[in-house]
Point group: C2
Amino acid sequence: MTTTAGILIIGNEILSGKVQDANSPYLCRELRALGVEVRRVSAIPDEVDTIAEESSTFSEAYDIVFTTGGVGPTHDDVTVEGIAKGLGRRVVIHPDLERVVKELYPGNVNSARLRLAQVPEGAELLGQPDLVFPVVLVKNIYIFPGVPEILIQKFNGIKERFRDAPFFLKTVFVTDGEGAIAEHLNAVMREYPALLLGSYPALNNPEYRVRLTLESKDPAYLDNALKLLVSLLSASSIAKVE
Amino acid sequence: MTTTAGILIIGNEILSGKVQDANSPYLCRELRALGVEVRRVSAIPDEVDTIAEESSTFSEAYDIVFTTGGVGPTHDDVTVEGIAKGLGRRVVIHPDLERVVKELYPGNVNSARLRLAQVPEGAELLGQPDLVFPVVLVKNIYIFPGVPEILIQKFNGIKERFRDAPFFLKTVFVTDGEGAIAEHLNAVMREYPALLLGSYPALNNPEYRVRLTLESKDPAYLDNALKLLVSLLSASSIAKVE
């Protein structure tokens, strides 16, 4: 079975349109390349109860869960508290993280900075010693910060643990519109029901009108489905196959 | 009470990282400018049952719901079917939309193209006669296409109906780090619990280290909270206030 994933983007700044989320597009691309199927991305506000409910629901529904944002020293950083509440665990100071905080702020560890060492009870740390601040994993929930540069660094530090069998992809660019080719797509889906077949119209593109994506984890199945599709489309309507 | 909204992004291409969703950032910005509070954005796959469950949940939870994507003539366009199922309604052909489809494809309306005229039973059409393809509204769910250019055109055609009292925003740029100012933010929140106060660290920005956003629908409340915050921060740490 393909590994499934859910991504939880935590932050009022996303919902209020002040910041455009760059983390979920990055994670979706990376996880797909690793062979993982992302089933849902949700952006929610910095609220303990909302985070508790969503992270707990995601944790039950998907093999792995990623959260981004809401980790830091200020009042609106409530991700750890929310996840802990959702899992019915306490928030505790992790001694390894406390050591990191003390090294970063020698002689100057106030209560705000100490929040950076808080984890849900029973959490483990990943990516040490390469990562100064390791990734916090609790149950199947990987807790990431919202700052994209740091998220990328941390994800790269642990991503190999997520690798699954790859998806194989073929793309067919068609000069006919969707309405003209829909019946052929239906015919392919009847013959290859497990095929992942996407149809995406392109506006104002001089080279093609529809981009068709065919995917499978089974390359022979994919090739056979592609052959059937190409045989059904009129040859003159295929701009290219990649 | 502020109008609340949920946005449902429907499309495997988003979750598989092939296409970066541009619609939810646009809608979040626009709705915020209209005074609407977006409470959640979720991206989900092109699956009837998932769409049914999510759209129904969103419809109950928020005043208004927007869906994007999954409307079109091909097999993976199942948004209308999913929303109808979630609301316990049938899918029917809307006569006004059927007329539009017949005008667009004279003498050439196949079953795929006729899908463009399908709506959940009881849906109404908005934005006529300005929009060639009007917006479909069923219950409190506004159904939008996934192609950003068309979504923008349609949203602009009906957006005034969503206008609510505006949010007022002040931004304070601070040269201290979050750990040094967290206690002042807590003090402001104790005094002004209804303030929307966000704290966002900036990496590698030579001008400031933290961007603080203060928001309220009550401009006097906002100004008083801003005055308190500025009085608490050291004057030398404030790079600018906007």
